[in-house]
Symmetry: C2
Subunit: 210 residues, 2 copies
Amino acid sequence: MFKRFKIPEATIGRLTSYSRFLKEADEKGVTTVSSQQIARATGVTPAQVRKDLAYFGEFGTRGVGYNPRELYNYIMKILGLDRRWSVAIVGAGHLGTALSLYKGFAERGFDITCIFDADPEKIGKKIAGLEVRSLEELSQKVKEYNVELGIVAVPAAAAQEVVDIMVGAGIKGIINFAPVNVSVPEDVVIRRVDLASQLEYLTYHLGETR
Amino acid sequence: MFKRFKIPEATIGRLTSYSRFLKEADEKGVTTVSSQQIARATGVTPAQVRKDLAYFGEFGTRGVGYNPRELYNYIMKILGLDRRWSVAIVGAGHLGTALSLYKGFAERGFDITCIFDADPEKIGKKIAGLEVRSLEELSQKVKEYNVELGIVAVPAAAAQEVVDIMVGAGIKGIINFAPVNVSVPEDVVIRRVDLASQLEYLTYHLGETR
DNA sequence: ACATGTTTGTTAATCTTTTAACAATATTTT
DNA sequence: AAAATATTGTTAAAAGATTAACAAACATGT
């Protein structure tokens, strides 16, 4: 689509931040913002902002700045957020439940459309208006709801198996909250989010400074 | 402590992975592992494993490998996990509740000792055996429970205010789940975890490949 | 219309991180 | 006991990412 050359991983994360700030600015009625303003609001340098955007094209006007709404729309398109996405969650424990109910997903275009769990105790329960289903139904429901993204919120020991089922059902992007590395075919994008590891980042740095 | 020179950010995250694998290996009774085995299990290259470890010292034996238990202990010490940490959560919504109940924290040495919320409706409720308290009590309870780490699970609009209160109470490390950049004094370590952004990473990459 | 001041897009320089290569050291085999 | 094999720690090379600098382009004021 845009990708003329390789884009730094971190750039993608920053585009998310930029877009949130731009939306706010637009809603406040602001008609131009500078790379400096974007930078200050998102905690990076102005040069970084311009570089990140330069990977994808020219979106501003020299001597002036950027139009928030326009730039917002561009970034959302770059991120693939110019449409909505259907997401399945596997794991109806505390984390899976919280993620099912999390408002922040819908705001960015992600609709949680089905929830699965292996535990018969949990099957049939309603979460966020959705019935928890067995893993056997996953493949069928994924087709029914056009699910393209999956969230894994199961214990580490079950993660690989669940991911295999998801991949088998045709899911192409997966977030794995289990603290374990799982493998997927080349054409599937996977990302691990290790919550405890985030706290460990803090303790490491606290140890460092004394 | 160890830090003789600057350590890559990503190294810290990988040490977490290594340590989990090493613990497992040790529990299985394995007495030596190679950088290659660690690498395969955690999805990196053997050279990366050795380089990461080399920042902190020499932990292996040439021609042989590493002792899982020993290396595990070293890494846990590097990460500051050779003791337990007391953690406060602010925000008793779905996410805050799930995080309070999440078993993965305790396993890695993090004890959630208090939960706070601004909403009077939530105050007094019990979560994971803990009473939800008002923000006014935060400072006192942080002292009482020796809290050093904080988790922010409140709406974006409230995040900066909550972080200010935490910092005022002496908390030195903060995870911010609100999708907004907040500022802290130099001696406070902060890390933002944006859940929607994780999904956006997927959609970006899916768009890329067609 | 010209000079002054802004702010982008881009190129070059710097800094950081990863990968590769290999000498040093241990183990196993013959 | 020597040769072959394995695996680390370390150094050098390559790749990747960030920062800095500045020409190009626009706006404003005189």
